[in-house]
Amino acid sequence: MPELSELEQQLRALAAGIEWPATPALGGAVRRRITSTTPRSYARPWYERRWAMAAAAALLIAALLVAYTPTRNAIADFLNLHTSINRTNVLPTPSPLPPGPLGQRLGLGNRVTLATARAGVKWAIVLPSGLGQPDEVYLQSPLSGPPQGEVTLVYGSRPGMPVSGETGVSLLITEVRGNVSETFFGKIIGPGTTIEEVIVGGHRGWWISGHPHAFFFTGTDGEIRDETLRLATNTLIIDDGGTIVRIEGDLTKQQALDLATSLS
């Protein structure tokens, strides 16, 4: 009668003798799958995915109510800020944010140091003055985000900047670069949200304020990254010399413009 320890010894001794089926060589097949232009798991249109399913009716209506031009791609080109915008009469209620660290909840990528982020992208990351160093920095890999990566600076709490109920922090600044035709951000805007054109340091931008709007990141294939879909508070998007900077927080328009002006 073997004791447990003896039984465990016998089991360990058995391991080397197990006759496993031959392991198939999977490298080539996997490579072909991931370099295919029509990957299986990304084949579904974004409006068929998990979160968006809950909002399907409203989003279909939204397609008919777009305030600017007939398609979201056309809007993206018009804005020239790598952002697609849909208007809808009824903003869908999103699912609550999942628990977990901020970067994971908001789909911001890997948490890194500012130095690592600077080394990981080809553009010069800009920071607002007067806020000190960001509390957290995230780097989104080109695999799941824009081809040149994406950096988000997190400012947890700053005087005069209330912590947003949507993000749990005072300020999020996301920076990205890409070709004009690429779309990295998406927005769905209800009737309680206004959008107006602004000029910051000679660069064009958009101030989106009022009721929270739905916001999401898009992946390299242009499809929505559904895990990032959430409500966003007031947002300023500007083109800072080719770097698209997205500033989100419960800010006044003037605060957002001042921050954008101070970027360096």
Partner: protein, 188 residues
């Protein structure tokens, strides 16, 4: 884990930056562990191959969520095991897994007499038979720990249970296996 090349982290960083070559190297490095884990779960070599391939494709698309510096084995095992379990569920059937000993397998360096060798071999085959007859949870936790040689963290990832549950589940599985061994010995 001992024997693991030291540059896994570098491979993952390169893969996260878009290197297909680096990811293919990762696949080659982990395909045996992944395939055997899927085989233990699906009980079919064909299903194990399909689910492992699918899991590696999904893992590639999820690379952006792999935390720099994290252990890749639990991360990969979790994705592989999820895929394998989903495949079993969707198939709606169970295949009979029979882990077998390789012909002529003889552990250790000693050269026993032919009679002793025959008896030892018979005991090992009997033990393996008893493991194959265990309930699913017991069989999986024993196979993960002793045959796949997974750590507690990796076993938790492969079985989709908290790491704290692995120890208690393994303890109960071993107790039940020991009871069966005793029962077989008394009835022999």
């Amino acid at each position: 884990m001992e024997g693991r090349p030291a540059d896994d982290a570098e491979l993952f960083v390169r893969a996260q930056r878009g290197s297909i070559d680096a990811y293919e190297e990762i696949v080659q490095r982990y395909q045996q562990l992944a395939f055997r884990t899927a085989y233990v779960i699906t009980r079919s070599a064909a299903e194990a191959e399909e689910s492992t391939q699918e899991a590696f494709v999904k893992a590639y698309r999820a690379l952006g969520r792999f935390r720099a510096g994290a252990e890749p084995r639990p991360w990969i095992l979790r994705i592989v095991a999820n895929e394998a379990r989903n495949r079993v569920r969707s198939a709606g059937r169970r295949q009979q897994l029979e882990l077998r000993l390789a012909e002529g397998f003889r552990p250790g360096d000693a050269a026993p007499s032919p009679e002793a060798a025959a008896i030892a071999s018979e005991e090992r085959q009997r033990l393996l038979l008893l493991i194959n007859q265990l309930d699913e949870d017991d069989r999986l936790v024993i196979s993960s720990r002793y045959f796949l040689e997974l750590s507690s963290e990796e076993t938790a990832a492969a079985l989709g249970i908290p790491e704290g549950t692995v120890k208690s589940r393994l303890s109960r599985a071993l107790a039940r296996l020991r009871a069966r061994v005793e029962e077989a010995a008394t009835s022999a």
